[in-house]
Amino acid sequence: MSRDSILGAIRRGLKRGALPADQKAMLAGRLAAHPRQIVPARGMLPLEERVTLFAQFIEREFGTVARLGRLDEVPGAIAAYLAEQNLPPALAVSLHPLLQSIPFEHAAQLRLRFGTTLPSDEVCLTQAFAGIAETGTLLMPSGPTRPTSNNLLPDNAIVLIEAVRIFGCYEEAFDLLRAQGAMPRNVMLITGPSRSADIEQTLELGAHGPRRLHVLIVDGAA
C-alpha cells in the first residue's frame, strides 16, 4: 500500500524507524498545547484601538464600515446603505439568533428572507463569529446558523459584528472557536471583498465572491 511505502521512504530519509513512544508523546504534547508563535504588537491592542485598527484595515482593503451604538439601529443602517448603493431593499439573512433578534420593523421597506442564499439573491446579511484587528479580517465558521454560501454567493455582503467580538490577533479568535468544541466543517477568514488581479496585474473587485463588503460594528445590545 502506498501509505506504508511513503512513510517508509520518509523514515529511510530521516535515518530512523517509526518514532519511539517518548518522542511521539512529546509531539502529541506540542499538539495538545498548540503553543502560540510570534504575535505582532499591532495584534495586542486594547479594545477601542482594536476596533479602530479593524475598521481601518477593512477600508484599506476596499470594504466599508459603519459603527452603530445599538442593535435597533441596524435596520435603518442597512436600508440607508442599500439606497446609497442603488440596490433593491431586499436581503437574505442567515438564520442566526442575533440576526433574528434585530427589530427589522424599524425599516418596514426591507424585504427579508431568512436561511441559505439562492443564486438570485443580491444582498446577504451574516453575523461574524469574530473580527481580527491586525488585518481587518472576519472569522466566519460554518454551522446551522451560518451557511457558508451566504459568505460567497451574493454580490453584496453585509456583515454584522459586535464590537466585543473584535480581537487583536487570529490566535485569540481561534481560542474562542476552540472553546466552542470541535473545528466546524468550514472556517473562512475574510479580508475585504472578492478581487482578482489576473488581468494585467490590475486589481478588479468582485471576481467570484461579493463585490462589496459592508461591515456593521455594533457596540451595545438592543
Binding site: L31, P40, E134, L189, S196
Partner: protein, 474 residues
Amino acid sequence: MQNNGAFQENAKRAMADAGLQQAMHRAGPHFVARRTAAVARLPEFEALREAGKEIRNHAIANLDFYLETYAAAVEASGGVVHWCATAEEARQEILSICRKAGAKTVTKGKSMVSEEIGLNEYLAAHAVTPVETDLGEYILQLREEGPSHIIAPALHLGRAQWEESFRKSHTDLPKDRVFRERRDILTEARGKLREKFLAADVGITGANFLIAETGSSVIVTNEGNGDLTQTLPRVHIVLTGIEKVVPTIEDTLTLLRLLARSATGQEMSVYTTFSTGPRRAEDPDGPHEYHVVLLDNGRSGMVGTEFQDMLRCIRCAACMNHCPVYTAIGGHAYDSVYPGPMGSVLTPMLVGVENAAALPNASTFCGKCESVCPVKIPLPNLMRHWREREFERHLTPPLARYGLGLWAYFARRPTLYRLATRAAAVSLGWLGRGRGHFGRLPFVGAWTRTRDFPAPQGDTFFAQYAARQREARK
C-alpha cells in the same frame, strides 16, 4: 523538458517577444514594490521568517508522525485520505472518485499539484470535463496553455489576448459586444463560471497547508473561486503534496502571516479557508464527501538529502518575482510546471536532473531569491548542488566542462593564476586606455555583441588588496 540548448532558445525567443516583455515590465516592479511595502508595515516580519523556517523544519523532521496524525484527524472528521506514491496513482484515485460520484463536470480551484500530475488532460481523456475557475487558470484553459507563474498564472497575457480568447470561446454571447474596461472581461468570466459552479458534481482544490491537529486543509484565494469550488458540489477533493502538513492552527497562522505578504504584498489574502471533513448532519450546505489525495511524487526522496530544505517551500512566488532571470524571460521559457528559482530546484527532483539540466543553470546566483524567501530556503546553494550532480554525471555541455577545467588548472596554481590575471589586466588596460572599453574582443564575442567590455582600470584585485593591506599596516 529542457536541455541547455532548448532553454537558451526559449530565453532568446522570450527576450524578443514584445508582448511578453511588456507583461514582464508591468508585473515585475509591481510585485517587488508591494512586498517591500508590506514587509515594512510589519516590524516582526524578520522574526516571523525565522519562526516560519523553524515550523517547517520541525514538520519535515517529523513528517511521518504529522502525516499519520493528520490522516487520523481527517478520518475522525468523516473524510477519506488517499495516499499516492506517484502522479499516475493520484490521477487514477481522482478519476475513480469522480466516476463513483457520476461526475460529468468538475470545477477546479487553482492547484499547482494538479498541473504537476497533468490532471486536466487525464480527466478530459476519460470523459470528465475539468473547468478551471481561477480567472487566470480559466483563460489558460481556453487558450490551452500552461501557467507561467505559480500564483499569477496568466501574467504573460495582455488585455487584447483576454478579449480575443473570450470572443472565440463564448460564442453564445453577442459578437459585437464591447469590452470597455478590464471589469467587463471579469464580469463575463464571472457569469460563465457561476453556471459551472452551480452545475459541477465534484470540486477539486489544492491546499496551502494541512493541519495535523485538526485534519483541516487550508486554501488561500482572492477571488473566492476555491471556496465556491469546495462548497457547492456534492464531493470535494483536496489534491496536495505530502510536505504541506504543519502541526497546529497556531503554526499555520504564523505561516499565513508570511504567505500573502511575500506573495502579493497583501496583509492577508481575501479568503483563507479551513476545511475539515464533509458537511455535518446539522449543516445547511457544504459537500457530502471530503477526500484528500496526498501526493508523494518524489518528495519523500528529498528527505534526508541536501534538498530537504526545499520541502519548506510554501509556494509564495517571491523568489521568481525577485529573480532577474525570471523577470526577463517569464515562466514559459523554463518549460517546467514550476518556474523560477524554486522550480529550478524542485523540477530536477520531480522529473530527473537529466530531463531538467538547464534549470539549475538558469540563475545568476545573485542571492535575491534566498533573501526574500519567507522560510529562508538557500535556493542558490541548492541549485549549486544540482550543478555539481550534473557535472558528476557528465550532463554539463563539453565546452563548459572544458572551460571549468581550464579555470580549475589555474585556480589550483595561485602563482600562475596571479601572473596570468595580472598580465591580462595590464595588457587589456593598456590596449583600452584610450576609450576605456572594448566594442569587440576575441573569444568573448557572445558578450561584446550586445554590450561593451570595460577595460581594466589599473591592477588586479589581488595586487590592490595586498597594496591596501600594506598601507593599513603603516
